[in-house]
């Protein structure tokens, strides 16, 4: 019996630009099951990033419901959403978004500062996460001392170090060459397959999307097709 992790019901999202009201979503419905690996594709302006933002609790719908493990998150306060994100979501960004002044280990440790773990426990968890992304020998390196692929692997370690249920990836290979992109995508696949992480990935790249179990095509705020692996 599969468990629904995300459930979006009749979600509407409007923006105003000057006097104009832009309807990004006008009644979007979506279910994402635990352990799924969903790729969302679509042209620019189709609403991919807005959807990812709403799933990640960094943006809220104008109307409709978003539930996570059965609990509504669309009506949480800013502070409650921050706590929810810290517990449940790991973000992976296109440009890695690492803190340039911090070492790889310190970057990975950031989400653990929001937990009650001791310094020793945090250090152990950071070492495990960096080992998992094959960067155990780069703990003291600053982002500028690493390649793009290595930086993205640090970002993945940061996303998984607090063991969230969900990974949200915004064009995670958009800034990488094909070979490195394949490494990163294989790593995401491994996290999905062997560690049970539910993943939602926004991408323009059809080759990247093929690593997912399910590909949703979004256009003008509606899912127009779905491919299942």
């Amino acid at each position: 019996m599969s468990e629904t992790l995300f459930d979006l019901k009749n979600v509407r999202k409007y923006f105003t630009r000057g006097a104009e009201e832009i309807h990004v979503f006008d009644g979007l419905n979506l279910e994402i099951e635990k352990g799924d690996f969903v790729a969302i594709m679509g042209p620019s302006g189709s609403g991919k990033t807005t959807l990812l933002n709403m799933l990640g609790g960094v943006d809220q719908p104008t109307d409709g419901e978003i539930s996570f493990s059965g609990d509504r998150i669309d009506n949480l306060s800013e502070g409650a959403l921050a706590n929810w994100r810290a517990t449940n979501i790991g973000f992976i960004f296109q440009f890695y978004n690492l803190m340039p002044m911090l070492s790889a280990a310190r970057n990975v440790e950031l989400p653990l500062l929001l937990t009650n773990l001791s310094a020793k426990q945090r250090k152990e968890n950071v070492a495990t996460a960096l080992e998992l992304v094959d960067l155990a020998d780069r703990t003291t390196h600053k982002p500028r001392e690493m390649s793009g692929g290595q930086q993205q692997r640090v970002a993945i370690a940061r996303a998984i170090v607090s063991d969230p249920k969900m990974l949200l990836c915004d064009e995670p290979t958009g800034d990488l060459d094909r070979e490195t992109a394949d490494e990163i995508l294989s790593m995401l696949q491994l996290l999905n397959r062997d560690f049970g992480k539910t993943i939602v990935m926004v991408t323009h790249d059809p080759l990247a999307a093929k690593y997912a179990k399910r590909i949703l095509h979004l256009d003008k705020g509606n899912f127009i097709s779905e491919e299942v692996d």
């Binding site: 960094v58 973000f91 340039p100």
Partner: protein, 392 residues
Amino acid sequence: MKIIAQIWTVMVMNIRSLPQRLWMSLAAVLAVAVVIFVLLAFLAMANGFNQTLSGTGSEDIAIVTRDGSQSELNSVISRDGVNIISTAEGIAKDKNGNPIYSAELYVVVDGIKRTTGTEVNIPLRGISSSGVSLRDQVTIIEGRMFESGKNELMIGSSALREFSGFELGREVTFGKTKWKVVGVFSTGGSVFESEVWADARTVQTQFRRGSSFQTMRMRLANTGDITALEKLIEADPRLNFNVETEAKYYAEQGNALSGIVIFGWAVSIVMGAGALAGALNTMFTSVSARTTEIATLRAIGFSNTSAFMGTLFESVVLSLIGGIAGTTLAFAALDGLSASTLSAGFTQVVFTFELSPDLFATGIKLALAIGFIGGFFPAWRAARMPVVKAFG
């Protein structure tokens, strides 16, 4: 505990990223340093001036001047007046039973300020040997005491340091009369050290003052008690005089420089507004440069309090560095610096800039205030940064 760890992390990241905004940060630090330096310069000047004057007055000495005169210079006391007042109760007596008092003259002579080469007014005090004994800590550090009836001078060590032409052994011309400098005295840094002293009767003769004096000083039988003198002056219509303790008299003279404190604060506030604008600009730029970092931390789950405190901390640290630089520079350049200014008596008073721990604290407090206000609004912006900015 979690929030402290978050705030600390953001603070450390902000401070470590300062070299990326080096020049702008240095400009902010410099602006604060200049403001603090200028403020401390004014306050140290006022502090030094006040200390010189407050160090002069004694509660054991009463000073009599003509009623309505603002200073010794425009006071007149006749010989008769001196004689009557010297009979008052409340004046201490010497071992022979004579009242201990000194009738003095206070005239202006020309001197040349060493630093500027300009002509300034120097006070020449006509004084008797009993007048010397009414001043605490008088020591002759070079030469000797002037002799009664001779055109001889002693100069205060502060006056000698500030004004040229009064070196020991030199002849000085006042009007048509020549005087010889025979001694240098010290009074422990009080205002008397800014003066030139000569025999009272000789000054009366050479400056054509007849038998009149300008002030009268007397040792009080009871410290601070001038009641008997006041009663005497009130009861006798011939005595149109004012009496107060020397301590009170010089404290009032010191107030003449209170305006410089107000002026110093006014200048500092105007300059502080400029430094504040610099701090605001620096911090808004800092927040703008770290938009992705701040939004990413917020996306991870960091609180907006940590973003706020981290930015505020950076601003306060920059201002604190500026404050410490400004106060240190002020201490190094100004503390103990000798200067002279026009007193309420229209003569030069020599004093030294005094930078006390209180002034240091004032400078640091002002720097912190600039840092706090300059950081508050950018910090508010950081705290309200939309998290979606993390996604570019």
